[in-house]
Symmetry: C3
Subunit: 298 residues, 3 copies
């Protein structure tokens, strides 16, 4: 399968604009129609204020590039797709990201704009994606996951907070009330087959076929008519996307609940157990988060 | 896996309040955070006016108990979870239940309040749950079913009436139009694997692992922060729960259609065939209800 | 399994009214309650202006016949259920169909009225159903598909247009955003098992059991009370059907995009490759439509 890049670019955002230096991911514009983003933020692809700022810039490029049809997001680390948010013990850095063009705070702004962009975004998931990592894949249009090497989850309730990047709004619509409540409240990891059965991902694909299958879909989409993709997607958006007003209240809950002494103490305990490093805690976070619960304290 | 019950109870509803005598189920407050309700109304766990009244009282306790995180509902009878409603040839007893705090009639009031309660309700389903029994599990937050020993269904259309406890509203949102219409209009039983495939339950679990898996989830939830559970659930409620106004019109249809001579005659015929007893009719109700249809009459 | 036809017909639309001569399908009124429609428009069951006109008439009969409970739609051609729309190089014939009673243009009018009709419509799918063929099965209440011999898809985006018969509205609600976007934007075929996993059909049934299973369901439904079916379905309609206003804008997009020179050229190329005939192109349309894309032109 090969792509022929031809025809004039019909707007001002040239592929060259994409060639700035990014620090938490690399960008490979494989053809006019197809771009691949590879998350690469060692050791475990946490999302930080820097990641959010770079994604905001990237989404701005995506929105303005009418040559582009498809963006694939994968990971350089086969064990971690996007671990979760890391506040880097510096809440000010995240707060300083401010409000985006949608009027939402930065993280929700990135996710909402990506979901509404006139292209097809594809999460090619291998490894772990929890919390904000899960929120990112839920904002992508299509999700394909390694059958053998995927762990997805929203762990927030297990650490005493409310998820702030829209998963109540998105999972409820995607997998239905019962399974959304299980994912959000039990706050454990789902593997690839269960994620497929629940509808959390489009499909779990055998690990050795995942890259080929996503590549074939991306190359196919790159050749389609941009306007047909954009308009058809916009009608699905009307029926399936949450309103922006649904996304702000949980952010306030997150801040209030995370600021409580018990949750701050649990966060400290998680760091002692290996949070944000390539630790056993991070590899089995769904199960092991219980080791940080208050009644385990000495 | 063990639970440590600690910390002060932060409201007035003491666990002791739960220790009244219940007649259609037993109550086991296993820890401050975790309560188990076991339906036990021989011979087949029909739901009667008494069951509804007791459930209304139980839901009142659940709503006021801010120590509580999770309530598991299971059955003492492995063949019948909750058979269906039994009007006990005394419609007056059901009518006398009146209107609940939500402004809905008693059965819908119980279901709506359970669905909105700030805890996680779990149906651990083994055996048959049809009609109002299915409506009850649909109002629970999570549904886990025995892979081998589950039969779920809404049989009402097969006896010429409209289901009155909200399954059009709840199934439509949970499993989508096509499968909701099949469940409601074909009115046959679904076994565990099909219920999982359709999204009617979260998961079908091998019978010998069902109790252990539900217990592990309940014990886990009991240790989580109550406020994180309650607020996160409330955002899912906003997207997934029907409005109360959807629930009343079908109750009127039910009354009108059930009052017709042909349906009264079919009901009599069902009683002759073994309704409300541990009969072959009840064990295979989805299939055998056709034996009560008018054109089988002599 | 046998059906007893009895009882007086309680309205004016006698079964005899159905016996006119139809050209694109046959009609078999198997009992008062049960009618079977078999698509038979060689060579591949394309949908044309004639098909739409006949279906409009048929749906009018269905709406007025209060004896009828269930209508099964199958195909005389095991390889093609309903290929897709064939404009017969005569857009005027389609335009002349005008506006139906719902105020929608003819094709959407037929689909909306079928979906709201007070009966159970069942698509018994064997063979290919793409584009308008897929739109038809999505407007039916229940969809059962041959496990081995089904290919479903919305190919429109692959030929540079927007689907005009409601699949953005219907698939979004039926299978969720992620899978709806995949079906609509990747525009490839889904086989029976994948269609079941995605919820595109109720179930994929082994080919040699499909006819028997659908027959059993139809015969069962034919015996049920018409009023119970109609009223129960109407409550599911309230929650699951799109508003009519969602259906018109994509029709305008379709017209605008299809009128572009590149899309007209692609259409000509498809005809050269065997469109509307029993060709390899039609048998593998999801894959082979890429052979008609502009950058393959000499």
């Amino acid at each position: 399968m090969s792509t022929t890049v031809n025809g004039p670019s019909n707007n001002g955002a040239r592929p060259q604009s994409w060639s700035q230096s990014w620090t938490h991911f690399s960008v490979d514009r494989r053809s006019l129609g197809y771009c691949r983003i590879t998350f690469d933020h060692p050791p475990i692809n946490t999302i930080t204020a820097t990641t959010v700022a770079e994604l905001a810039e990237l989404v701005g490029l995506i929105e303005q590039d009418s040559d582009l049809n498809v963006v694939v997001f994968d990971s350089a680390n086969p064990d971690f797709y996007l671990a979760h948010y890391d506040i880097e013990n510096n809440p000010g850095a995240t707060a300083a990201l401010g409000i985006g063009p949608t009027g939402l705070s930065a993280w929700n702004d990135v996710l909402v704009r990506l979901a509404r962009a006139p292209i097809v975004s594809i999460a090619a998931i291998r490894g772990r994606a929890r919390g904000a990592g899960s929120e990112f894949v839920l904002a992508c249009d299509l999700r394909f996951a390694s059958h053998e090497h995927t762990l997805l989850g929203q762990w927030e309730v297990g650490i005493g907070i409310v998820p702030a990047g829209g998963p109540m709004a998105r999972l409820s619509r995607l997998v239905g009330r019962g399974r959304a409540l299980e994912i959000l409240l039990v706050a454990d990891d789902l593997d690839g087959p269960r994620a497929e059965r629940y509808g959390y991902v489009n499909r779990a694909v055998a690990d050795d076929r995942l890259d080929g299958e996503v590549e074939a879909i991306a190359v196919r989409l790159a050749r389609f008519d941009h306007e047909a993709i954009a308009r058809t997607k916009s009608y699905v958006d009307l029926t399936t996307l949450p309103s922006n007003s649904e996304l702000t209240p949980p952010v306030n809950d997150f801040r209030e609940l995370f600021g409580r002494p018990a949750q701050q103490a649990q966060w400290t305990r998680l760091q002692q157990l290996g949070l944000n490093t390539d630790s056993d805690l991070e590899r089995s976070l769904g199960q092991r988060l219980v080791d940080s619960l208050p009644d385990q304290y000495p």
